[in-house]
């Protein structure tokens, strides 16, 4: 049938129990039989009733299509009885004395059963095709999410919802197994208001799909939770679950978790439910693997940046503790020597003075190198004092506003410092700006930096400038950088850095 059913419509579809459905079918069929009988009574004087007996097939066929062959046979019998009572003499009795009438009724019943069966098969084929196309559409939707590399949690939620709707479930949940033998709900869906727990650890201490999958092999079913004890069974009974079906999620040869669908009605899941679940687990696995490799890539970038920073910091320390202190001591010694030179040796005094001056210049150069390697004030005083020291040395006037006095993890402070440092350097070297504005503020666990200049603009972050290095540094910390630099209209660099480091867990 190829149509795409919206979630709400699908959610409404399974509202009545099988018995209710059957009864409503019986009622509708009986009313229709009565209507056809009325029509026959009207035309009976003009057209012989036996010729019209087949009109009852108009009722039997739709009943077979909508309610199945069982009810169609019942309605065919009701039709035969109505016909016998109304039109076969003796009238108004179920007695049949005329053998031709009996033959006509038998032929009608046989035809009704055959037509009913054909109609019921048509109905099944249509249903299967609709289910298949629904399944394909659901898989496509999830596959699109996976291909877009959205966060794994988003894929989990989509899969849980699609699985729930597709399997005609009332509730569905995806659970991840933990190393301590428990499981954590990572996503859940429900047709009604009652939800299964997400984010909490579930002990596998009683009958449950999670436990059966964990200690079993392949897909599993729990056909009744009646009288069951244990964390998940208790939860199932509380929300009214009668039966569940689940499928393992295996990532890289390891049992990662389980996806489970549950029903509140007595009607059990169809036999092919497990294979439907299995077709989704492949997509789940891809999403988890994608998230894993992304997390590994992020972690590896962060390690590269952290290792480089650590090397620079160590170099700065070595310089500070070694060469710088030695040269300073030497400068002091030379000044002492200068003081002891007798006044009648002015040339020697002057020579020594020159050496002292040269040493001072060398020390100043060392200070600059050391500052470039790792600004000592950043470790000592944090971002505010660090940035103020930075802008004091800028050749272009910088208007700095720091709206946070907090200390942040060293990688965040270093990244923020280098963003401003690189941006101000670029402005000085290339932008021809007369004024730079730098703002630093914190919003909801994110440090926001903005560097804005009134220069020539046209900065191209892709042209191997220092901006590429900044992007690496910022993204390695899970942050984002945006550069707006229209030609002739200044440059704005905006950076957001998460203050808390993310754990890098795929869920």
């Amino acid at each position: 049938m190829g149509f795409d059913v919206g979630g709400d419509e699908r959610a409404r579809r399974r509202v009545s129990s099988p018995a209710q459905r059957w009864l409503s079918g019986l009622l509708a069929g009986t009313v229709a039989v009565a209507a056809v009988t009325g029509v026959l009574a009207l035309v009976d004087p003009h057209v012989p009733a036996p010729h019209l007996l087949m009109l009852y097939l108009l009722v039997v066929m739709p009943v077979a299509i909508v309610w199945g062959i069982g009810l169609a046979v019942v309605i065919a019998c009701v039709s035969a009885l109505a016909y016998a009572y109304m039109f076969v003499s003796p009238l108004h009795s179920f007695q049949i004395t005329n053998s031709w009438s009996l033959v006509a009724l038998v032929v009608f019943l046989v035809t009704a059963v055959v037509v009913g069966q054909l109609a019921a098969r048509l109905r099944l084929a249509t249903q299967r095709s609709a289910r298949l196309s629904e399944e394909q559409a659901a898989l496509r939707r999830v596959a699109t999410l996976v291909a877009r590399s959205v966060p794994a949690s988003e894929v989990f939620e989509a899969v849980t919802r699609e699985v729930g709707l597709l399997c005609g479930a009332d509730l569905a949940r995806m659970e991840q197994f933990e190393e301590d033998g428990t499981a954590t709900g990572v996503a859940a869906w429900s047709r009604g208001p009652a939800q299964l727990a997400v984010g909490t650890r579930l002990t596998l201490d009683g009958p449950s799909i999670a436990r059966a999958v964990r200690y079993g092999d392949g897909p599993v079913r729990v056909e009744s939770f009646a009288g069951a004890k244990g964390t998940i069974a208790r939860e199932a009974l509380e929300v009214g679950i009668r039966s569940s079906v689940g499928c393992p999620i295996v990532v890289g040869g390891h049992l990662w978790g389980v996806i489970a669908a549950s029903r509140k009605s007595d009607e059990l899941f169809p036999d092919d439910t497990e294979s439907q679940l299995a077709s989704f687990t492949e997509l789940i696995v891809t999403a988890i693997e994608n998230a894993d490799s992304r997390a590994q890539l992020d972690a590896s970038r962060a390690r590269v940046v952290a290792a480089a920073d650590e090397a620079r910091r160590r170099l700065e320390r070595d310089l500070h503790d070694g060469a710088q202190q030695r040269l300073i001591s030497l400068a002091l010694e030379l000044r002492m020597a200068q003081d002891t030179v007798p006044e009648d040796l002015p040339e020697l005094r002057a020579d020594l003075g020159q050496v002292v001056d040269a040493l001072s210049s060398a020390l100043e150069e060392l200070r600059q190198i050391s500052r470039g390697l790792h600004p000592a004030i950043l470790s000592e005083g944090g971002l505010g004092p660090g940035l103020r020291a930075l802008v004091r040395r800028s050749a272009v006037p910088v208007d700095l506003r720091v709206d946070t006095g907090s200390r942040y993890p060293p990688p965040v402070e270093v990244a923020a410092y280098y963003v401003v440092s690189e941006a101000v350097t670029n402005t000085t070297r290339h932008a021809g700006a007369s004024h730079v504005e730098v703002t630093v503020e914190q919003h909801d666990g994110t440090l926001l930096l903005c560097v804005r200049d009134d220069g020539v603009g046209g900065a191209d972050p892709g042209r191997g400038s220092g901006l590429t290095g900044l992007r690496d540094r910022v993204e390695a910390l899970g942050g984002a950088i945006g550069i707006t630099s229209p030609a002739g209209d200044g440059t704005v660099i905006e950076v957001s850095l998460p203050v808390e480091q993310s754990a890098g867990r795929p869920s």
Binding site: H320, D321, Q324, Q325, R326, L327, I328, S329, L330, A331, L332, E333, R335, M336, D339, L359, S360, L363, E364, R367, S370, R371, P375, A376, I377, E380, G381, G384, P385, R388, A389, R392, R393
Partner: protein, 125 residues
Amino acid sequence: MVQCLIVDDNPHFTAAARRLLERQGITVAGVASTGEEALRRADELRPDVMLVDIDLGGESGLELAGRLHHQEDLGTRIILISSHAEEDYRDLIAASPAVGFLPKDTLSARAIHDMLASSAGEAPG
């Protein structure tokens, strides 16, 4: 004579500074290489002035200056020193109880006397 205590974790520097200052007329009563040692020796020696390195290895000289300032009846004034330039630390120096800052390579008795003189009249750090 002005009594001085040098707090620095680099022995080359403390040795050179001690000789220079003593030759220029300042008594170096002692040296300390850690914050704890500095607090103890300050209490013991009651120097007129302490030269405190901002970067004390793993410790912060600025923090030590704050602790010394809160030590009652010490009467010692603090001059921060560093191998870095003053402008690198300007905000932190201004916020500290120290009477001033001297880059290590410009250290001299005269610089110390000038700094003490210019801070005279103010409450001792």
